[in-house]
């Protein structure tokens, strides 16, 4: 479990703070360290929601300028997880989707926002889409599947991170319905 000492964590924190990077994810054996500067704007996909412990708040207090999140997988210590941590561990809630239409992943695979590396993304937040517009690519073992919006509206939120694995039926985008939007959109809301 002692893959890394507290001093080393502080050293890493300093390095990240002085660097131009916003985010660091480090895994050594069971040990996992995720750092995000400025509160981390996007909700991170959180692997290992059960049995996780946020164990090093004392470290965080010493470096209050960098919000951090040090985790060790250790099911036995579940009991020590505080209520605040539990809330943090909640995945992107269904509640956030209220009033929005969801574009869900038709399959498990890797989520890509652009048709190829370096190309501009298919969509950004605020972009209007109609049912036939491509919104992303899901790659499964070198097979690239283009995902259509299937709804009409304005992209309100991008819920998955580029290059990350998404599950079958995971929400990828939230779409704000347009007044007088497409029939597909209306049906979705009705159901």
């Amino acid at each position: 479990m002692d893959a890394i000492s507290q001093d080393e964590v502080i050293q890493i924190l300093k390095m990240v703070e002085e660097s131009s990077f916003d985010e660091l994810c480090l895994e050594i054996g069971d040990f996992k360290l995720i750092l995000k500067k400025h509160g981390g704007s996007e909700p991170v996909q959180r692997p290992f929601q059960t049995g996780e412990v946020f164990a090093h708040h004392e470290v965080a207090q010493e470096q209050p300028s960098v919000p951090m999140d040090v985790r060790q997988t250790e099911p036995e210590r579940m009991a020590s997880v505080s209520e605040r941590d539990r809330q943090e561990m909640e995945p992107i809630g269904e509640g956030q989707e209220e009033g929005y239409l969801a574009i869900r992943s038709p399959m498990l695979g890797t989520f890509y926002r652009a048709p190829k590396p370096g190309a501009p993304p298919f969509v950004e937040v605020g972009r209007w889409v109609s049912a036939d517009d491509s919104v992303c690519i899901i790659e499964v073992m070198k097979l690239f599947n283009t995902v259509k919006a299937n709804v009409r509206g304005r992209i309100a939120k991008i819920c998955a991170e580029n290059g990350q694995m998404v599950e079958y039926q995971q929400t990828l985008f939230l779409v704000e319905e347009v007044d007088g939007g497409g029939e597909t959109a209306k049906e979705e809301i009705a159901s």
């Binding site: 895994e27 692997p47 290992f48 929601q49 059960t50 498990l108 499964v140 097979l143 694995m165 079958y168």
Partner: protein, 460 residues
């Protein structure tokens, strides 16, 4: 563990629960793949993480190699345990693991391919001096089958070369029946395995199904963990298994276990496997049947009499280690029996019975083991097989194990759906079973009829 740290369990149901349990004991993280139906299943809740790989149909989820590999890589898993069924014996999953630097917790792809071909497996066994049932090479038409049948003698079995699970397997009693049955068998084989190759074997009517558990490591060592008797079958599906076999003498045990090890050594087999034999009860001879290249449903009876956790051993050898025990340290202690509790109506021709389980209370006690993924409120999906639980009891001898099984069955409460529990109670009280006077066709030829006639009461 040296290399394995996070395991993707590519299966569902009780075997997923079983594998996750051992992962925990070994301090390994577990990720389980789930279909949409199984998102809130017991394995999904027990694993460190569950990944939804597709819709309910197995073709679109549990049988999708690319989705499983993507899930393993995407979750940072470095090993895949396939369980049994689904992709466990498909070389393509083992191969894909090798391509992507993942450890496949099972045999080498090459072993899967070789032993998956029943004719090749027969050659291997014959080559190391193990008797094989008199039979033929491939037969391409009913005429060739008739020639082979004349040679080996009726009744015969038509078997699929790619076979397993009784699919494409047909008994032919007389020469005049051969032609239509041949077409039926090859058609069934084609639809089940995509391979219509058929061969002929002599059919042994009064036989017991005896199988030997072996395990091999990377260094060419093979040990056996004694035999299991799986003679109680219905339509080639095992219903009750026990270890040791009441029909096997100590001398025969030594001989049959040694034969299994010889076959394993010949192919340099790695990981857990089972060598199946047919014991001809009229002549006291045993014949090689086939080899199963996976952990088997009935592995707990072996664990109960040997005290060895087979899934743990699977992880050890897949990780490049050797076994935790030597052959000399493997001891057979007591007697164990397993009943497969299925969601089927024994009173209605064993028709499948999916639906909501309104009440689930499984028996407990020392020497009572229940491997299951069910609970009160669980919905038994029509998409998957009907196995609900494996009930295993152990005693110092066979009689004690049977007594405990009777008690455990009587204290197993499942409401909402029909199960095979009453049929197992019928078996456990039947004098033929108590006396060890059974064969592989005893359930179908005798017991099913008696059960229907007596309305489930053996003493009527």
């Amino acid at each position: 563990m040296k290399g394995i740290s996070r395991v993707l369990v590519a299966n569902r149901g009780e075997i997923a629960v079983r594998i996750i349990r051992t992962c925990r004991e070994l301090g390994l993280e577990s990720v389980v793949t789930v279909s949409e139906t199984d998102k809130n299943s017991l394995p999904a809740r027990l694993a460190d993480r569950a990944v939804c790989i597709g819709p309910s149909s197995p073709m679109d989820s549990y049988l999708k190699v690319d989705a499983i590999i993507t899930a393993a890589l995407g979750t940072g898993s470095n090993a895949i345990h396939p369980g049994y069924g689904f992709l466990a014996e498909q070389p393509k999953l083992a191969e894909a693991c090798a391509t992507h630097g993942l450890i496949f917790v099972g045999p080498k792809a090459d072993d899967l391919r070789k032993m998956g071909d029943k004719l090749y497996a027969r050659k291997i066994a014959g080559g190391v001096g193990v008797s094989i049932i008199p039979g033929s090479e491939l037969v391409h038409n009913p005429e060739e089958a008739a020639d082979a049948a004349k040679r080996v003698g009726f009744p015969i079995l038509l078997k699929a070369a790619a076979g397993g699970g009784g699919k494409g397997m047909k008994i032919v009693a007389r020469a005049e029946d051969l032609s239509p049955v041949f077409d039926e068998a090859s058609g069934e084989a084609l639809s089940a395995f995509g391979d219509d190759r058929i061969y002929v074997e002599h059919y042994i009517a009064n036989a017991r199904h005896i199988e030997v558990q072996i395990i091999g490591d990377r260094f060419g060592n093979i040990i056996h963990l004694f035999e299991r008797d799986c003679s109680l079958q219905r339509r080639y599906q095992k219903m009750v298994e026990e270890a040791p076999s009441p029909a096997v003498s100590p001398e025969l045990r030594e001989e049959i276990c040694e034969a299994a090890v010889r076959i394993g050594k010949k192919i340099g087999y790695e990981n857990a496997g089972t060598v199946e034999f047919l014991l001809d009860q009229d002549h006291g001879r045993f014949y090689f049947l086939e080899m199963n290249t996976r952990i088997q449903v009935e592995h707990p009876v072996t664990e109960m009499i040997s005290g060895i956790d087979l899934v743990k051993e699977q992880f050890r050898v897949a990780d490049g280690d050797s076994f935790s025990v030597s052959q000399e340290e493997v001891r057979l202690t007591g007697h164990a029996i397993e009943c497969r509790i299925n969601a089927e109506s024994p009173g209605a021709g064993f028709s499948p019975c999916p639906g909501y389980i309104t009440e689930w209370k499984s028996p407990t006690g020392e020497d009572v083991r229940v491997d299951s993924h069910c609970y009160s409120g669980y919905f038994v999906s029509p998409y998957y097989d009907s196995l609900l639980a494996k009930l295993i009891t152990r005693g110092t001898d066979r009689r004690e194990a049977i007594d405990l099984m009777q008690y455990a069955l009587a204290n197993f409460v499942v409401s909402g759906i029909d199960t095979t529990i009453p049929f197992h109670q019928f078996i456990m009280k039947h004098t033929d079973y108590l006396d060890g006077n059974v064969s592989t066709n005893w359930i179908e030829n005798r017991l099913v009829k008696e059960y229907e006639k007596n309305g489930g009461n053996p003493f009527r």
